[in-house]
Amino acid sequence: MAMDDLAEKVRAGGRLSGPEALQLYRHASLHLLGDLADGVRARKHPDRIVSYIIDRNVNYTNVCVARCSFCAFYRDVGASDGYVLGFEEIFRKIDETIAVGGVQLLLQGGHNPDLPLAWYEDLFRSVKQRYPEFKLHALSPPEVIHLSRLSKLPVPEVIDRLIAAGLDSIPGGGAEILVDRVRKLLHCYGKATADEWLDVMRHAHRAGLRTTATMMYGTVETDEERLEHLLRLRTLQDETGGFTAFITWSFQPSHTELGGSEATGVDYLRTLALARLVLDNFDHLQASWVTQGGKVGQLSLAFGADDMGSVMIEENVVRAAGAAYCMDEVEIVRNIEDAGFIPRRRNMHYDILGGPIFRERAVPRMHNLATARRDGDASVPSELLNYPARSRTGKEQRGQAEPDSGLRPSGPDPARN
């Protein structure tokens, strides 16, 4: 189809086929893609509201057996700088989040073999007991699958148990590119195949949870595979309607095994615009200022995004890969208004909670994102002793080792395999 006809089809609200979307992505100018994506955004959000959420991105552990080649965050079992946050530490983070108007934790972490399902259930219950209104947006699909494997329970049952303990919604992390060829190359096929990732979301939606969806691009995927990812999300959304929003970001290569260079700012804007055109059944697209910086983050609002994501307060994963951008609520609101939009605070369901909180009461400015822990803090939370570890190192640390196991020299951990 000629480019003008494709543009006309989008403007008339038509659904793009895969080949049509690919043609636009490959051959349309940045300006045309932006113009079309902005048109879709304006159709879906004629009120010119751009939302954001005040929440905190807490990574409860960096110990992970998945070892994805694009990840700079994980530490091996037994690593000296591996950590698990204690319940009290997490409560402190929630207190700090509530103090600046925050409404939820985005809680994700590594696949730690020494944290059984009961640890998560106890954590969620105790959070809900202390903070009944506070939301838990927690555990991406690969973490749910990891818990399913660890507990030998089917995914729907794990989800039900987590919901019963207090889970409110599931973040769309760990999707990377939902094509198994890519997942094998990135060493993330083992943690979740494309079908498994989508299945977790299907079960979550059926169980009544809303979730987000993500895409990490710029590693080894082709244009076709980037598009296939979007089409698979669109199909599931047609089926369940459970996704609230889509977030895409570029692979951050520093300190990763995969290495290489980061996709460019223009590639980000083109990919975001493509997503806005293909994901016609998604209401919201978030800007990833954490990976793109405030400026391209703000420009996202002209290329299809209608949400500035999170005033994160804390971030560990992207920082580990070299990016360190920070925007507090004041800065996010300034960027939204400068782009001609109306800033509104929201929750995970995109219910509008109000205007900027700093205009209602004094909130301290935040010029740096917090980290999970202070450097050098190697403390082990006391409650961990109550949970059975699975790795040998974990058992030794918790005094749960078999009588003869202390004699063996340390070697590769069986839980990794």
Partner: protein, 290 residues
């Protein structure tokens, strides 16, 4: 309305205040980028030049020359005429064939006044010491812009860039028109950097403001050949997007060997230029292709 503005731009007609007010509305950002891109492509096609610059401080030990440098730029305001002359001579001694640029014109204007010299006399002395290029003229800091830039010309020097210290501001139209007027009178500006050189860390410029200013500069400063964006100051992402908004020259690509991680290296700039759909061409400080 935008269709009518596009027609005017294509016909080379000047834009009215109403046209500009319309284009400055945030929701017209992409229309503004599109127009600036049309003008830029008419002038330069897809060609995008870049220059690798090695900055040299005004005093202290000189670093070894980076092999990739296309310009050695002496930065900072010289405290005395003698120190300026000495630094030029020292830098020339390591420069080889690489063009040397030095100082900002309003700093030199003040230095000349303090030393009881005319600006032209000072510039002639710098020229005699071997200087080829005045590194920058911050036109918003020059009290007598035309005279100062003409003095550069008459002293036999070339002005490497013209810029705005505080940026065009809001609304940016007036200061950009002044740059165009200045060029009508002096005719020697080859490049113009519209984005502010001074950035308030508490309140950095936004992506919208930066892109709007680059695009407006391309539309309003239509008599200066090249619109520049600074790779080091604005970062690869913003610099790359600026190429789609009228900029055609990437300044201050660090000349570091081997390329340091992040913002460095000719290969990274070339990759960014190509990924934005343009054709990279490296130049040196004399504007010669390398």
């Amino acid at each position: 309305m935008v269709a009518n503005i596009t027609r005017k731009v294509d016909a080379g007609e000047s834009l009215s205040e109403a046209d500009l007010t319309e284009l400055l509305a945030p929701h017209q950002l992409i229309s503004l980028m599109t127009l600036a891109d049309r003008v830029r492509r008419r002038r330069h096609g897809t060609r995008t030049t870049f220059v690798r610059v090695q900055q040299v401080s005004g005093s202290g030990p000189l670093p070894p020359r980076a092999s990739g440098a296309g310009e050695l730029q002496i930065v900072g305001a010289p405290p005395t005429v003698d120190s300026a002359l000495a630094r030029i001579e020292e830098t020339l001694a390591i420069a080889g064939e690489v063009p040397v640029s030095a100082f900002e014109l309003s700093d030199l204007d003040r230095l000349a006044a303090g030393a009881g010299l005319s600006l032209r006399t000072l510039l002639e002395r710098l020229r005699e010491a071997g200087l080829e290029l005045v590194a920058d003229a911050a036109v918003d800091r020059l009290p007598k812009k035309e005279a100062a830039i003409e003095a550069v010309n008459m002293a036999g020097l070339i002005l490497a860039r013209a810029s705005l210290t505080s940026g065009p501001g809001h609304p940016p139209i007036e200061s950009l028109r002044q740059v165009a007027d200045l060029q009508r009178s002096v005719g020697v500006l080859r490049t113009f950097r519209p984005l502010p050189r001074r950035i308030d860390p508490e309140r950095p410029t936004t992506g919208y403001a930066d892109i709007r200013e680059v695009a407006l500069a391309r539309l309003l400063v239509d008599n200066v050949e090249m619109i520049q964006v600074d790779w080091t100051l604005y970062g690869p992402k913003l610099a790359q997007v600026a190429l789609a908004a009228g900029a055609d020259d990437v300044d201050q690509v660090p000349a570091l060997e081997p390329p340091r991680e992040g913002r460095a290296g000719a290969a990274e700039v070339r990759g960014n230029v190509e990924a934005a759909g343009f054709t990279p061409a490296e130049r040196n400080g004399r504007f010669d292709e390398r």
